[in-house]
């Protein structure tokens, strides 16, 4: 029961934050809303028994990536969004597509994809240990490759953002 309550609370906060991101005019407000979303997602992960993921969600996503976003917004002094002529295509194709997308996925999930599984709160015993074993044994290669990826990304970011000499 408490599970449901918690889910509804945090799920509601997620949706509210996302809608706020959509509706706010100033980018910094959108950024802060996104941080809220990420935080509540971390809580939801905990409900799903994914402690490790929740931790890195907070540390990496909310703590690093979003901070980066906020820094850039501050650096570029982004102001309120001005109203420019949009694209007709976006209106004519985008809106129906979004609606259709949502409609289709919900249809599948609710009508045809009925799975009678209830989420277990304590699904994993010692998940962090298991994740570590998996990461450094079975998925070692992707792990190393992503290290290289990050390195490349760092270099790319430095090069791209450098001031012209």
């Amino acid at each position: 029961m408490i599970h449901q309550v918690l889910f509804i609370i945090f799920g509601g906060i997620c949706v509210a934050g996302a809608l706020n991101l959509l509706l706010q005019k100033h980018p910094i407000s959108s950024a802060l809303s996104l941080i809220v979303v990420m935080g509540s997602l971390a809580a939801l992960y905990l409900l799903l028994g994914a402690q490790f993921v929740a931790a890195i969600q907070v540390i990496v996503y909310a703590g690093a990536i979003m901070v980066l976003f906020v820094f850039v917004i501050m650096l570029l002094n982004a102001g309120k969004e001005e109203h420019t002529k949009g694209s007709r295509i976006a209106m004519w194709f985008g809106v129906p597509s979004v609606a259709a997308l949502l409609g289709m996925v919900l249809f599948i999930l609710l009508q045809r994809g009925k799975v009678d599984y209830q989420i277990e709160l304590g699904a994993f015993a010692r998940p962090t240990r298991e994740v570590a074993i998996l990461l450094f044994r079975d998925y070692l290669l992707p792990f190393e490759v992503t290290s290289v990826l990050i390195l490349v990304a760092i270099m790319g970011a430095v090069v791209l953002a450098r001031k012209e000499q």
């Binding site: 599970h3 979303v37 939801l44 994914a50 990536i65 597509s97 298991e130 990461l135 490349v152 953002a161």
Partner: protein, 100 residues
């Protein structure tokens, strides 16, 4: 008792809102953030299924998604800075030099 469907519906809703933000917002940085929102929605899906199948590969995948998202955010923001330097605007409608 929360059926898994609820989590999946939540994930779908978040994703859709991300798509909508992607289409309707004019600031480049906001559009970028909507991408992060979409990625997060997908992460939620993965973790939910990991719980269902008792398979930790879902968590691993989420880990990698986050790594890639971080790298992508870094590079993307660098590009945005470069664009801002040349075009002096963050409005995506003004960055339209690539038209036929």
């Amino acid at each position: 008792m929360v059926p898994i469907t609820w989590y999946l519906v939540l994930s779908a809703v978040l994703f859709t809102i991300g798509v909508a933000a992607f289409i309707f917002k004019r600031n480049i940085i906001t559009i970028f953030m909507s991408i992060e929102l979409m990625l997060n929605a997908v992460n939620l899906s993965f973790v939910a299924f990991a719980n269902m199948w008792k398979d930790l590969s879902g968590h691993i995948f989420v880990f990698f998604v986050m790594v890639v998202a971080a790298a992508e955010a870094a590079v993307g923001l660098a590009i945005i800075i470069a664009v801002f330097r040349t075009r002096q605007t963050l409005n995506v409608d003004r960055v339209n030099l690539l038209k036929l």
